[in-house]
Amino acid sequence: MTKNNWPLWEVFIRSKQGLNHKHVGSLRAADAEMAVENARDVYTRRSEGISIWVVESSAIFASDPSEADSLFEPADSKVYRHPTFYDVPDGISHM
């Protein structure tokens, strides 16, 4: 293993059925083009995907786990934000 690692990239794959790209993992590559090729080899060997996005991990700004309380808890007590207070009319399926 080299001492200077190549940058880390996050990989997103869109599957045949899926409309959106989903995060599948990460890998190392020298540049974006190599990252797509490595992603093809590492993550789509079993025909998992039809489209690949890669983004350098350093470009992702993530929420701070220690702020989870203030970020996410307030939503827990607001049940009215979920559309569960409506009667679904007969004849409407797949709701």
Partner: protein, 250 residues
């Protein structure tokens, strides 16, 4: 049986088998995990191509030999692969250079073989072409990265090119086998393969800031079974299981 077609299929199949085996030697030794997986994928593609080509060769021969019998139970002099593909892996750059010189030849070859009047051969070429395009992209990019990389990587891959160049003349070895298949209309005219190979090689090597060695000694022999000593060692490893336990299956 069409002896010429059988011989031609052995050439195609043995090229894929031997370079695929060479590539598989990298399994677990790649420079990084991602590249290790890429190399193994390519090895699997090549051995898969060898399987279909040799299976068809066995049918054409019609003596009851299947792809396994052809891959594992022939002697070195019966192999028809290029000398280029049996050369040792060397460092990673050497392997990429060998693969690049081969891929740049295989891609235009498959493109033309797609038009063969032999349906089976045309279908194999069409399927393999997709894989080969990727192999070429992969190997060419590495040749460019290493050639146009650091002083050391440039020097090392230039040495690989100097070592391997003498085996490239054989890529375009054409004898009676090929001539008669062309006359019978089984093989399309292959004369453009060399031109396209040459264009690709010049283009990529110039991007890689590498220089093509002056024309010197050209080594041929693989197509007629006169191999370098390396093939014997490859076959010792490749054939060991079938020789020690005949008929053994996974």
């Amino acid at each position: 049986m069409d002896e010429n077609l059988f011989q031609y299929l052995l050439r195609l199949g043995d090229d894929s088998l031997i370079i695929g085996h060479r590539m598989s030697e990298w399994c677990g030794h790649g420079p990084i995990l991602e590249e290790d997986i890429a190399l193994t994928n390519i090895a699997l593609d090549l051995i898969g191509q060898a399987t279909s080509i040799l299976a068809y060769a066995g049918k054409v021969e019609n003596k009851g030999r299947d792809e396994d019998a052809l891959a594992f139970l022939r002697f070195d002099k019966d192999y028809r692969n290029l000398l280029l593909v049996e050369q040792p892996n060397g460092d990673f750059g050497m392997t990429m250079m060998r693969q690049f010189l081969f891929d740049a030849y295989r891609k235009p070859l498959y493109e033309i073989l797609q038009n063969s009047s032999d349906r089976q051969l045309a279908a194999i070429a069409e399927k393999s072409l997709k894989e080969t395009k990727y192999h070429l992209k992969h190997s060419a990019e590495w040749v460019i990265r290493l050639g146009d990389g650091t002083e050391e990587s440039n020097q090392r891959i230039q040495e690989s090119l100097n070592t391997l160049w003498r085996y490239t003349a054989e890529l375009f070895y054409a004898d009676e086998v090929e001539k008669q298949l062309t006359e019978k209309g089984i093989l399309p005219d292959l004369s453009s393969v060399k031109k396209e190979w040459s264009n690709t090689v010049h283009d990529v090597l110039s991007q890689a800031t590498l220089s093509i060695p002056e024309n010197g000694w050209e080594q041929i022999g693989g197509r007629t079974g006169a191999h370098s000593e390396h093939l014997g060692y490859i076959l010792a490893e490749l054939q060991y299981m079938q020789r020690a336990y005949p008929g053994q299956k996974w």
